[in-house]
């Protein structure tokens, strides 16, 4: 026993303390509890991992039976293998940095203790998710992080848009969860268990499915779940709106950890996916479509957090591409490096927003390079990392993915390269609009405190050097290294695309600032389409939300419920009353008339008896 349960439970305890007593504690104690609990959890992860040594085999701990019915049995089981180890380090490590950052960022906000309570609760569920040893416990974490995401997006609940965004995130995720739960049902029907070890052991012996078999259906349903959580087409719409939450939340939940849960889950189920090539193709294509679509939308956004949000969606698309072409370890590698540089981008953006007292529109920024130099330097590190400039972290992981994609289907590589160029363009567009040129706003920018800058610096180091932590190698026992093309030309091409994107951004936003307007004018239709995110939200509204709401109101409620069913019920009552209204004419109210009826009746009865001869 290595007491794995302590890893998630410590943040849970922190969360409970802050929920119950946080309002009465001073802020320093609140953040102390929150940061301390994550730190302890992080240390415990290190302790467990060092205690477990090489982790050649998965280490499973079983605690108690959760649900037992008939011969179906699910326990609260946790496990650690190399995949979990990577995720644990990312979640607790990045989580710790972001907790520290938040204590500075949120210092002047209402609901300080509530924020940290939610954040710790998120850590609890996220750790449950990655530690789970069966699908149902994973689902607990899965839904739990969704809940925390809902709570934190809606943190500024006084704003209607925040409430809307939280609700949207939860409901869209529910659609994904619908797929996930159906997949679980099918797994139980097929394998009789939800335990990872037992499911995968059985699946290993099954043949690769040529057409659409059970495993393919399971994998596609799991994929639906993953598209919800990891913001892939068609369920990506919630993530950009999720930026309503405080910026550290965007960094932790909507960039570094929670949104990669889908990638983790697919990688975890790799045994199933390898038996279902059709589902693999679906994963790759969804990833690719998402990567391109989100990157194009990102080109035209003006809100700094929205740019990074679409960038996240796009990068998640990359990860799915990796999974879909069978390069699971490359996908997880990108999860890790992405966690470094995207968390940094968001935290840096947070620092900018903090400096400008809440301004998020890049058109009202500019020239901040000299005013907040540390923020600029760190965020610049993240930008070169995500742009795939060698030898920084993004280069390594993106390259693994693109090479694997080329081996699978060359056209995927080319689409990926174009996307990489766009990525470099919009990230540097953001950098240039924010930090270069002259200041266009009317605040007095000030550098953030060191409690915020410290985490930025650590993350900057990780973004720059993180690529040398060779995760695919570490994951080799789980995922055999995917065969990939090893042609240096391909590497040069993708690097060139990234550099071209940076150069174009330089040209348009530093050298020739009038160019963007000219371009957007000459391609007005296309620009409007991209600027408005291809009107996907509007289409969903018109096709799903409104028909459902109006149909429920006019057809189901007013029509069937009140019009048909209640009409029948009340009709029965009415007809009884109608019959009664005929009969009640006899009820004159005059006793003498009643008496006459009585007498008449008895005369008739007596007469009838005497004529017919009653029973004797």
């Amino acid at each position: 026993m290595h007491h794995l349960w302590l890893i998630p439970t410590i943040p849970l305890a922190g969360s409970m303390i802050n929920l119950l007593f946080g309002r009465r504690l001073p802020k320093i104690a609140v953040s102390g509890v929150a940061i301390g609990s994550v730190l302890l959890s992080f240390l415990w992860v290190l302790n467990v991992l060092s205690g477990l040594g090489g982790l050649e085999e998965a280490h499973i701990e079983r605690y108690f039976t959760w649900i037992q019915s008939g011969d179906f049995n699910v326990g609260f089981d946790l496990m650690v293998d190399r995949l979990t180890a990577v995720m644990l380090l990312v979640v607790t490590g990045i989580g710790l940095l972001i907790h520290i950052y938040s204590s500075g960022y949120m210092a002047h906000e209402e609901g300080f203790s509530r924020f940290f309570a939610y954040l710790n609760l998120f850590m609890f569920f996220m750790l449950i998710l990655v530690l789970a040893a069966n699908y149902l416990v994973l689902f607990v974490g899965w839904e739990g992080v969704g809940l925390c995401s809902y709570l934190l997006i809606g943190f500024y609940y006084l704003k209607k848009s925040a409430g809307d965004a939280g609700k949207k995130a939860f409901i869209v995720n529910r659609v994904g969860d619908f797929g996930f739960s159906l997949a679980m049902f099918l797994i139980v029907v097929t394998f009789g268990t939800l335990d990872f070890a037992r499911v995968f052991a059985q699946a290993k012996d099954m043949p690769v499915e040529a057409g659409v078999g059970t495993l393919t259906v399971i994998c596609l349903l799991l994929l639906l779940g993953a598209t919800g959580k990891s913001a892939q087409v068609p369920l990506y719409v919630w993530l950009p709106d999720a930026m309503e939450g405080p910026t550290p939340v965007s960094a932790l939940i909507h960039a570094a950890t929670m949104v990669t849960a889908g990638v983790y889950m697919v990688a975890r189920s790799s045994v199933l996916y390898l038996k279902a090539p059709l589902a693999m193709d679906a994963v790759a294509i969804i990833g690719l479509v998402t990567a391109v679509l989100a990157a194009t939308i990102g080109l035209a956004q003006n809100d700094i957090k929205k740019v990074f949000a679409y960038s996240t969606v796009s990068q998640l698309g990359y990860m799915f591409l990796a999974l879909g072409v069978g390069a699971f370890s490359a996908g997880i590698f990108h999860v890790v490096t992405h966690a470094f540089f995207k968390a940094l981008l968001f935290l840096g953006a947070g620092s900018v927003i903090h400096a400008l007292e809440g301004e998020q529109d890049m058109r009202l920024m500019g020239g901040l390079r000299s005013k907040i130099p540390v923020t600029f330097a760190t965020i610049f590190c993240a930008a070169v990392a995500i742009a795939g400039v060698p030898p920084f972290s993004g280069f390594h992981s993106k390259d693994e993915i693109l090479l694997a994609a080329h081996h699978h289907a060359p056209w995927m590589y080319w689409v990926g390269v174009v996307t990489a160029g766009m990525t470099a363009f919009y990230v540097f567009r953001a950098i240039f609009m924010t930090f270069f040129g002259s200041y266009r706003g009317h605040h007095h920018p000030h550098e953030s405190p060191w409690v915020m800058l410290g985490p930025l610096c650590i993350l900057a180091l990780l973004s720059l050097g993180g690529g040398y932590i060779h995760i695919p190698h570490f994951l080799e026992p789980l995922f055999p290294l995917a065969e990939s093309a090893h042609e240096s030309t391909l590497v040069y091409i993708s690097v060139a695309a990234g550099l071209a994107g940076i150069g174009l951004a330089w040209l348009m936003y530093v050298a020739q600032p009038g160019l963007p307007d000219a371009i957007s004018r000459s391609f007005r239709g296309l620009y409007t389409l991209v600027y408005n995110k291809y009107f996907v939200d509007e289409i969903y509204d018109a096709v799903i939300v409104h028909p459902l709401r109006d149909g429920s109101r006019s057809v189901l409620w007013k029509g069937i419920d009140e019009g048909v069913i209640d009409n029948v019920v009340n009709g029965v009552g009415r007809s009884a009353r109608n019959v009664g209204s005929v009969l009640r004419v006899m009820q004159s109210g005059y006793i003498r008339s009643y008496a006459t009826w009585v007498v008449l009746g008895s005369v008739i009865v007596v007469a009838a008896i005497s004529f017919l001869g009653g029973s004797r």
Binding site: I67, F139, V188, R549, D561
Partner: protein, 513 residues
């Protein structure tokens, strides 16, 4: 003895309250609370023995009530009824506390009716004689009718009459079926009838089975309520006082589903299996339909009422899947729904006590003046939505999993309801609790009082307990369900259960006939 005490204490409390002078409101309330608490504590004492033998009848009492026709006072408790009884005894003291300030007129009658209602509810779950069951089934109608009709909102008379007539129409058919069974079998005693049906001494033709099944099914389906027999529910809930809504949703609806499991399946297994497809279709329709209609309700209580239609659809789906997992889930879901929907109605009632409106549009931003009320509402809402580690998830999961094993399409359609439940609950929550609070609303809103805490905490604790520590509750249910499913297997020799008094009764019966 313990069981009879639990059953008759509320009745005694009811009679006792009638002798109180009506001015002594405090004494009346305290007495009602003490009696109901005593019953609750006593009912906890039932657990160990039922745990030991969940499939057999424990604490059985079987004496003659009316000599001719031979109606017996036959009560007992097993794994199926145990938690439902405890749910009833738990909710009664809670509703007494909930109504503490809410009820201002006719205080004495109100609390007397609550205790009478408890008597009826417990009796329904304990009765092992069909006629006795029918009596208890109807006994619950009367106090509920008055609870809605006297202490309800504006349209209370319409709602009360609708409630009464709807359910009465159903149960009258059941009475006819019971009498028919008596004419054929010569007894009202349920275990004996079941035994006779099993060993062929009472052979029903398939037509007879069908009509008897339909009569029982109709009575219970109205009570559940199963789509399309549900329209009394929104009216009854919309107009009932808080305590009435809690009891109605948490326990009275369960009498329908309990009846299906206890009587419909074992007595008419053939007909139940033959008719399962369309019943399941109705259940799934109800799940989706209830959720969709709940989504656009402007009135909170009606919203929760329609959500009950949706949730109870899961229970019926589970029952008619004829599968261990689904049936376990269904029975568990009865308890879950009792706890979480009861809590929802309670919290809606607390909002009503403050603002005197049930329209969602009259609220907004409640989270600011009443953070703890909002937090409790949030947990309850999440339980109702089916978040894992909270109670409803376990029930829904088992039902859907069991249904998926029988027919995967059922699970697909029913799972849509899980999505929709999030839609209507979150939307309601957002409109009620989020946003800026108006000055007028702020002046009405205050956070939970200690009494209100005392009512909500047990339920919230139960939500978490039932969501994680299912092993406290499920094994008993599972065992008794296994027996029920065994009984529904047609053409299988019926296993006489271990109760010794049963076989002696059968002998006695054989001598008499």
């Amino acid at each position: 003895m313990l069981l009879n005490m639990i059953l008759f204490l509320p009745l005694a409390g009811f009679l006792l309250l009638l002798f109180f002078p009506r001015e002594q409101r405090g004494a009346i309330k305290t007495t009602a609370l003490l009696v109901s608490l005593l019953v609750f504590v006593a009912s906890l004492g039932l657990i160990p023995e039922v745990r030991n033998a969940p499939t057999a009848m424990s604490y059985e009492t079987n004496v003659s009530w009316i000599d001719y026709p031979p109606i017996r006072y036959h009560v007992g408790i097993d794994g199926l009824s145990l938690w439902l009884v405890i749910l009833s005894t738990l909710l009664t003291p809670i509703t007494v506390l909930v109504s503490w300030n809410y009820i201002q007129k006719r205080v004495k009658e109100f609390f007397a009716f609550l205790l009478l209602l408890e008597f009826g509810m417990i009796g329904v779950f304990l009765a092992m004689d069909l006629f006795l069951f029918y009596v208890f089934f109807e006994v619950t109608l009367v106090p509920m009718y008055f609870l809605i009709g006297i202490w309800g909102h504006d349209k209370r008379i319409y709602a009360a009459v609708k409630f009464f007539l709807y359910t009465l129409a159903g149960s009258v058919l059941m009475l006819a079926a019971i009498i028919y069974l008596y004419n054929r079998g010569g007894t009202f005693d349920y275990p004996i009838l079941l035994e006779m049906l099993r060993n062929g001494r009472l052979a029903l033709s398939s037509t007879e089975q069908f009509w008897l099944f339909m009569a029982f099914f109709f009575a219970f389906a109205v009570k559940v309520p199963l789509f399309p027999l549900h329209t009394w529910l929104p009216d009854a809930h919309g107009e009932a006082p808080t305590a009435g809504s809690i009891i109605l949703a948490s326990v009275l609806l369960k009498m329908g589903t309990y009846g299906l499991v206890r009587f419909c399946l074992p007595m008419f297994p053939g007909a139940a299996r033959d008719n399962a497809p369309w019943i399941v279709a109705l259940a799934i329709t109800g799940i989706i339909y209830g959720a969709l209609v709940a989504m656009i309700q402007p009135n909170m209580k009606r919203l929760v009422a329609y959500s009950s239609v949706s949730h109870l659809g899961f229970v019926v789906l589970g029952i008619f899947s004829f599968n261990q997992l689904a049936l376990d889930g269904a029975v568990y879901q009865m308890l879950n729904h009792g706890v979480s929907t009861g809590a929802l109605f309670m919290l809606v009632g607390y909002l009503y006590e403050r603002r005197h409106s049930l329209e969602i549009a009259d609220y907004g931003g409640v989270a600011t003046p009443a953070p703890f009320l909002s937090a409790m509402f949030m947990i309850t809402m999440l339980a109702s939505v089916g978040l894992p580690t909270l109670n409803n998830f376990v029930g829904e999961f088992l039902v859907l999993q069991g249904a998926a094993q029988v027919n995967f399409t059922w699970a697909v359609f029913a799972a849509v309801g899980v999505i929709l439940s999030a839609v209507y609950m979150l939307w309601m929550y957002q409109r009620t609790f989020f946003g800026e609070v108006s000055e007028e609303l702020r002046s009405h809103m205050h956070d939970l009082s200690p009494r209100e805490w005392a009512t909500i905490i047990p339920l919230v604790v139960l939500m978490i307990w039932m969501g994680t520590g299912t092993q406290t509750f499920l094994p008993v249910i599972s065992a008794s369900n296994e027996r029920t499913l065994e009984q529904t297997k047609t053409n299988v020799e019926f296993q006489v259960n271990a109760s010794p008094s049963l076989s002696s009764q059968v002998k006695e019966l054989l001598n008499v006939r």
